[in-house]
Symmetry: none
């Protein structure tokens, strides 16, 4: 039995409150000079106090050695096996720019490319065209009309944009048109099942009209399509956990991921302080609160150890405001590691801290990767974070008599 | 491949002896005044000595955050994935009162209830009728006769009793008749597959005759039926492990669970001392011995920390008698945690201790939750306890060449 089905069966309701504070890319690697990671280097008096009071551990988002993207990283933390529940590339791209993918939609990641006079690809990324140049070009494609289909075109960044086809009978099983090499023309969109024939046809007509609009542009006179995908069918937080769930995030990607599991997106904060303002303002209206802090990941991706340390300290400073709300269960973790040393997401297990009255405390004296190694939660798959949260909130009945 | 199938393939026989000593609900939570759990508070010189000699760890019975009932808790310890091998509610109830459910049986949990003149339920638990009053009433239902079906009625406690229908062609897929609310009559038993039509029909006839017998009783003039279930199809200890297995327990529930996996129930002890007497007396006749001690769980459920500590100390005192038998593998653990602080079963991992000559010892100096956290067994799913036991008993061959 799937853990989600088990939880859906055992869930109970009460007036507990669960807070999941996510510092994106929290886990790190040590500065060779000190032997301490970003989290261990940061002065985090509040997190350290919580670590003493609660129980710590390390989470593996997907599987040992597997580095998660933001989509799978969050799905896992939310309790959804990211190898079973897959978010298509097109849907993730649309989600990332704040487009709400609906049940009749097929989302497609598109790249501008440069074609020669014979229609062969010369540059698969249109000479790394700037966002300033490509965004108006993407928007110009909104003039394309295909009867019976609503079309949305959203710029993303540089050569990337996303197209959403909305209509009846649009399957998402269509092959990529990007041949993954130059010197050949883009492929035709080929349907891989009966349900996707109309989608492939719509895509062909879109491509034909786009070629006319783009003709003559020196760099972006063509485009390729990848990752045709439909909204994933994720059982909702309400169904699985019986939780009225609120999501508070600055970036569209995280709002979108939360929306896919049925969380309600709260407000439009522009920084962590405003996020906590919102948390306070809706405290009485929800049972579960996902609060996302982006900049730990951003500074890790920059490779800036000191700046990531600062972001962790900024994150630590808001902890007392969250504690003041007296959540039944307070969890602090990340969706994956982003060590400044690697300048990218990584597979390293993510430190996690859970505070509740029902914790069996461990010997951890501070919040950091090394301390977490001897934490009472041990090392565990991230998909169990929510069953632990539910248990400590008193929201799970006994399995079997 | 299922771990049971793997073990069944790799199992070898020798003259080793494995003892599994189970202190029910062993795991706990700390007394806030001392920071020590029940097990850590108890004076356990014998268990501590074993912890130094053997290897310790923590077991998760079902999955992180999931609290097991006795059935799934024991199945997991016995090596059977409790999410795959499910014991129906009716069978568990029958097992709990010592009724041996056979292959042609359907067991049903029944509640006495109070009906009004129109047959609508007024009280789903018959005014919490006492056992003294309800037991003779349940026994009076033994007069019910249905041709071709043998019927057993066993009192349980208060409004609860269990009915077993024995006969050919009785499927167990019948819906509950308890509408889960008052103001409406009980539902009819509805078959959910072809094989269960006869069972539903038998149940209807039973209900009609019962109504006549109960008519006029001021509280228990009706009944509802739940958890229709057949004996689960569990591969036996003999088949999986090649072990002649003996079970020694005071309470019918644990004898019943052991019987479901093919263990032989030894004697009828009434306390731990008598259980060890029996263990000694059958030592030469079996390869595996499951010894169950109930009162650690009972005192935990009472919320009595000090009394649970005493029970653990009582349990510790019999250890030398078990050691004197020189088992090849001696395991001490629980089927789940029952912290006095929670007055109930809980999801917290269960301390486990394994002693054998082939142990790779760890640094654990005593037997307790905090020490077990740094134990050599780590934190592991309870279903692997038996493969570890078999390995240390020299009873498992190599997998692959």
């Amino acid at each position: 039995m799937d853990i989600l089905e088990l939880i859906a069966e055992l869930k109970e309701k009460n007036d507990s409150k669960i807070v999941l504070l996510v510092a994106d890319g929290l886990g790190g690697l040590p500065d060779p000079a000190t032997g301490k990671t970003e989290l261990e280097t940061a002065a985090t008096p509040n997190l350290d106090r919580l670590a003493k009071r609660g129980v710590c551990g390390l989470m593996t988002p997907i599987a040992p050695g597997i580095t998660p993207g933001s989509g799978p990283g969050h799905l896992a933390m939310f309790g959804y096996d990211p190898l079973k529940y897959v978010i298509g590339r097109g849907v993730l791209e649309a989600t990332g720019v704040g487009f709400e993918v609906g049940p009749k939609d097929v989302a497609v990641r598109c790249n501008f490319c440069t074609l020669d006079a014979e229609g062969r690809i010369i540059d698969r990324r249109a000479g790394r065209i700037s966002t300033e140049e490509s965004a108006p070009l993407a928007i110009s494609l909104r003039q394309i009309q295909i009867p019976g289909v609503e079309i949305f075109v959203e710029p993303v960044r540089e050569h990337r944009f996303v197209v959403i086809f909305r209509g009846d009978g649009l399957g998402a099983n269509v092959s990529d048109t990007d041949p993954q090499r130059t010197g050949v023309p883009p492929l035709d969109p080929v349907p891989n099942d009966y349900e996707s024939q109309r989608t492939a046809d719509v895509a062909k007509r879109f491509l034909a009209q786009a070629r006319e609009i783009l003709a003559g542009h020196p760099k972006a006179n063509g485009l390729t399509m990848r990752g045709f995908s439909a909204r994933p069918n994720l059982p909702s937080y309400e169904y699985v956990y019986g939780l009225r769930a609120a999501a508070i995030a600055v970036y569209p990607m995280y709002k979108g991921l939360a929306r896919l599991v049925g969380m309600t997106i709260i407000g439009n904060p522009s920084n962590l302080g405003e996020e906590i303002d919102l948390l306070e303002s809706v405290w009485n209206d929800y049972d579960f609160f996902f609060v996302h802090f982006k900049y730990t990941d951003s500074r890790g991706e920059d490779g800036n150890f000191a700046a990531k340390v600062q972001m962790i300290e900024e994150f630590d400073r808001i902890i007392p405001r969250v504690e003041a709300l007296r959540p039944t269960v307070l969890i602090v973790t990340g969706d994956h590691s982003t060590p400044a040393a690697l300048r990218s997401h990584s597979w390293h297990p993510v430190p996690v801290l859970l505070v509740a009255d029902s914790c069996r405390p461990d010997a951890c004296q501070s919040f950091g990767e090394t301390e977490c190694l001897r934490g009472g939660l041990g090392q565990f798959p991230a998909v169990y974070l929510m069953s632990l949260a539910m248990a400590h909130a008193g929201r799970l009945g006994k399995y079997g008599a």
